[in-house]
């Protein structure tokens, strides 16, 4: 363990070592070598290193880390393509209740298994996936990407979201 402590001393800032290294090494020769002591020496080196960094450099480094993190997220995140359609509901006797009922009916009609099968086959969606997976699984995936919700007081929003631009363009909301 003494070797680790001796190695850890090299991690201290140069200015600190110029002033304290000789006496610090003398102290390390006196203490019982242990994991705890070695980790303490190592931890103090890290703390001193961090304290030696100027505020300007911390700001600069934080900015750089943030920039790299943002760039990495942008590169790694898949693009999302959303197609939307707004259906305006008008007519005598229209009410909020009617909108809720309409949305429920629309949801039932749109995301039912039968309806999704028809949309997928008619529009030739998920062609590659259909060669690998059963249609039921593909319909399940598609259902998760469809959103139907109220839009304003008398409209409904249909949305289909996908990481595949072509699929999104040929989606049922268009």
């Amino acid at each position: 363990m003494r070797w680790l402590m001796a190695l850890a001393v090299r991690l201290y800032p140069r200015a600190w070592r110029v002033r304290y290294e000789e006496e610090f090494r003398a102290l390390l020769e006196d203490v019982n070598p242990s994991w705890r002591a070695a980790l303490d020496v190592l931890g103090a080196a890290v703390v001193m290193r961090l304290k030696a960094i100027s505020l300007g450099r911390i700001v600069w480094l934080s900015g750089l880390v943030g920039l790299l993190g943002g760039f990495g997220t942008w590169v790694l995140s898949p693009n999302r393509f959303v197609s939307q359609a707004v259906i305006k509901i008008e007519g005598p006797g229209f009410s909020h209740r009617a909108l809720s009922d309409y949305l429920a009916a629309l949801a039932r009609g749109t995301v039912s298994r039968r309806s999704l099968y028809k949309i997928i086959l008619d529009r030739d969606l998920y062609a590659a996936e259909r060669r690998r997976e059963p249609l039921e699984d593909i319909a399940g995936q598609m259902r998760e990407h469809i959103t139907i919700k109220p839009y304003g007081t008398n409209s409904a929003l249909l949305q289909f979201e996908s990481t595949d631009q072509k699929l999104s363009k040929r989606s049922p909301t268009i």
Binding site: Y20, E22, R25, L27, D30, A44
Partner: protein, 95 residues
Amino acid sequence: MSDPTILLLASLADGDKHGYAMMEDIERFAGVRLGPGTLYGAITRLEQQRWIRPVASEDRRQPYRITAEGRAHLTGLLEKLNTVVKTGLRRLKHA
């Protein structure tokens, strides 16, 4: 009670000591075993604050001495601590 500043100043209050002697002394009177890195981190800070200073020595082991400012600072810390201790004990007694 594990603040290295107060422990180190209290250790030096009765005379000059080098690092290892401080570690042993602190363990004896406070039951706290400071690690070498923690100890020298505290020594660095206290010397920068001018609360301790190195004393000339032939040995590689560098002894340190508490300064007048260090004594004043330690006195202030201990008085505050004393108030907390007295208040806590009084409240415990009346609880």
